[in-house]
């Protein structure tokens, strides 16, 4: 009952004209970004952060959240029509969505994708609304030791899932932690690694780094290529799935909602893992698994539902614990801290307008997205045809002006360009950028928690073992690390045994 009252309060917050407008702008931009390959939600969020300084924190957060789950909707359009994922989380949709388009069924593919996203998004918001308050209360018992262990586990899980090479991902995370320490230490006031450069005294800002890595870096990689996308020309007249489509899709949609929501809560979770897990589940449960990869509508309905449900689920750790589970959440955390907010257990108590306003805005936003993605699908197909040679200068320019406007300082642009070059090199040498950003955001918080824990325990590391929550999270983290090393050791032993047997 109390939850319903809070929800009505949130609706009262979100129905203020400025919040409704920001919600609409967020989902519209999110869909736009999701549709366009080569422009990601992380990059766009980084570009928009300087702009959001001028609006109130609730409006800004509503817009940024709308951008994220809106991108999950938009990503399916390019997957289905171009066989190129507009967002990383929509990569699975390419497998069956494009095949459906080739068979003249692009309309039902887009339609079921939109409906599934709406259902998954709505279910995950309900989950967020119900789970967040009790989880926040539980999290009030956490001390610095638990927080350090949770953040450590979060980074390890993200690195585990970030790319092909775990050592490279962990290296990036370590580097990110270091970059987070540059500047004036919050505890002692000492300047660290500033190299007597004035701009570094306040630390390296999240915005120029994020815009550099995800904006400039991405553009540098893409301008080297000859990007040519052939939009699959097909009739989009019938967008509504027929009865048979619904019969085949309803259970994948329901399963995808649950799978996506729970996987989204986990560090490293969010849209991508959820959509993969849903697709794998549907293949295993299907009576006709041979149809997957050839235009099975279940292969679109389940993953697209799951990626939206995962997006909703990923808000839970951020709002209740102050812990981001993926790069987007890390940027959102950085943004909220810039607005003077501290996500965590106290947030729902101290800023109920923010939390319940955002929750209510997600209901409204999902409804807006259903309208944007069905009747207006023709508009997005035209957007797909915007050539990259027009798009990339705008992206670069937005990055430049955005970086400058942070502090009206040209040095911020220089930092952004440097990180843009680094982002380009990271991609070339297969080093993932996501662990870097996440560790850079979490690094200062981890350092504070680590130092406080060691002070509390008089230097004894046993404090991380004797506290149950800390122990469990560290065990999970080290189990994951061991799972990457042990198969390699086992294989080595097999090879040695075979060679000695010869």
């Amino acid at each position: 009952m109390e939850t319903i009252q809070h929800l009505f309060y949130g609706l009262a917050v979100v129905f203020q004209p400025v919040h409704l407008l920001m919600c609409f702008i967020g989902v519209l931009l999110g869909t736009f970004v999701g549709v366009l390959p080569g422009v990601g939600a992380a990059c766009t969020m980084a570009l928009l952060l300087p702009v959001t300084y001028k609006v109130n924190p609730v409006s800004a957060t509503i817009m940024l959240c709308g951008l994220y789950y809106g991108a999950m909707y938009g990503g399916s359009t390019t997957s289905i029509l171009l066989n190129i994922p507009g967002e990383v989380a929509s990569v699975v949709t390419c497998l069956d969505g494009y095949q459906m388009a080739r068979k003249g069924r692009a309309g039902p593919a887009l339609g079921i994708s939109a409906f599934g996203s709406f259902i998954g998004g709505t279910i995950s918001v309900i989950g967020l609304m119900l789970a967040a308050p009790p989880l926040s209360e539980f999290a009030l018992k956490f001390g610095p030791t638990e927080y350090f262990s949770l953040m450590f586990m979060g980074i390890v899980m993200l690195t585990f899932l970030a790319g092909d090479s775990v050592p490279k991902a962990l290296c990036m995370a370590s580097l990110g932690i270091f970059v987070g320490t540059v500047g004036t230490d919050a505890i002692s006031g000492m300047e660290r690694f500033t190299l007597n450069i004035p701009i570094l005294v306040d630390g390296i800002g999240l915005l120029p780094v994020a815009m550099g890595l995800f904006g400039i870096g991405e553009v540098l990689v893409n301008v080297e290529l000859t990007l040519k996308a052939d939009v699959f020309e097909t009739s989009l007249k019938r967008l509504l799935p027929n009865l048979d489509d619904w019969k085949r899709s309803i259970m994948p949609i329901l399963r995808g909602s649950v799978i996506g929501f729970f996987l989204g809560i986990l560090p490293g979770g969010g849209g991508l893992i959820s959509s993969f897990a849903s697709y794998t589940t549907e293949v295993k449960l299907s009576k006709h698994p041979e149809e997957f990869g050839k235009g099975a509508i279940e292969g679109v309905a389940g993953p697209e539902t799951a990626n939206n449900a995962g997006a909703g689920g990923s808000f839970i750790p951020l709002f209740t614990l102050g812990l981001p589970t993926n790069v987007i959440m890390a940027l959102l955390l950085g943004a909220m801290m810039l607005y003077g907010l501290q996500p965590g257990p106290q947030m729902i108590i101290k800023h109920p307008d923010l939390f319940w306003g955002v929750v209510a805005s997600m209901y409204i936003g999902n409804a807006m997205l259903l309208i944007l993605n069905l009747p207006l699908i023709g508009l997005w197909v035209q957007v797909l045809k915007i050539p990259y040679h027009l798009l990339f200068p705008i992206i670069i320019f937005f990055c430049l002006v955005g970086a400058y406007s942070i502090n009206n300082n040209v040095d911020e642009i220089t930092i952004m360009i440097i990180f843009g070059v680094l982002g380009y090199l990271f991609k070339k040498f297969s080093y993932p950028g996501a662990p870097f950003i996440m560790a850079m955001v979490l690094g200062p918080m981890m350092e504070r928690a680590l130092r406080q824990s060691l002070i509390m325990s008089l230097g004894s590391g046993w404090i991380f073992i004797t506290r149950p929550i800390s122990l469990i999270t560290l065990l999970i983290a080290f189990s994951l690390l061991a799972s990457t090393i042990l198969p390699a050791i086992k294989k080595k032993r097999q090879v040695l045994a075979e060679s000695s047997g010869d």
Partner: protein, 157 residues
């Protein structure tokens, strides 16, 4: 070399070697700030740990590359129009260098002119008009609407 053999190769280890060196620099540099003790960690405590981890994990990457073999360095740029990337980077740094002297509008028009012509060659008047329109749009958005203090050059804007 067969495609499947190439795909199993690692990226060139020079990136990992550079990171080993950077990690060592961080580790050594952190001693300046004092490691402190486990009872009272100093300012150099976490930088030291991050430096050690950077060295450790990037060393593992080097070893794995040596074991598996790696693709030639030139393969990273084979078949790409890498000169465009160089043009973009140089142009951006020049933009930073001249921004305060030329002012936002003039510097931006020059920048956009170069970028619009990088991947495609429309007529010059189309390029220049597009560059002016983009620069003016962003000027209005940031200077007028968002009240950013964009630099004025010798022309006063």
């Amino acid at each position: 070399m067969k495609t499947e053999e190439v795909s199993k190769l690692d990226a060139h280890p020079v990136g990992s070697i550079v990171l080993v060196i950077i990690g060592l620099a961080i580790t050594v540099g952190s001693f300046r700030y004092g490691f402190g003790s486990f009872e009272e960690p100093g300012d150099g405590f976490l930088p030291f740990l991050s430096g050690v981890c950077t060295v450790f994990f990037s060393s593992i990457s080097v070893v794995l590359s040596l074991k598996r073999g790696w693709m030639p360095l030139r393969s990273l740029w084979e078949g790409t129009k890498w000169h465009r990337m160089i043009v973009v980077i140089v142009t951006l740094f020049l933009y930073c260098f001249f921004l305060k002297d030329l002012g936002f509008l003039l510097a931006s028009i020059l920048l956009m002119t170069v970028l619009f012509r990088l991947m495609y060659r429309p007529k010059w008047w189309v390029t220049i008009l597009s560059a002016i329109a983009t620069a003016v749009f962003f000027y209005v958005l940031f200077q007028v609407c968002l009240e950013a203090q964009l630099p004025r050059g010798f022309l006063g804007f």
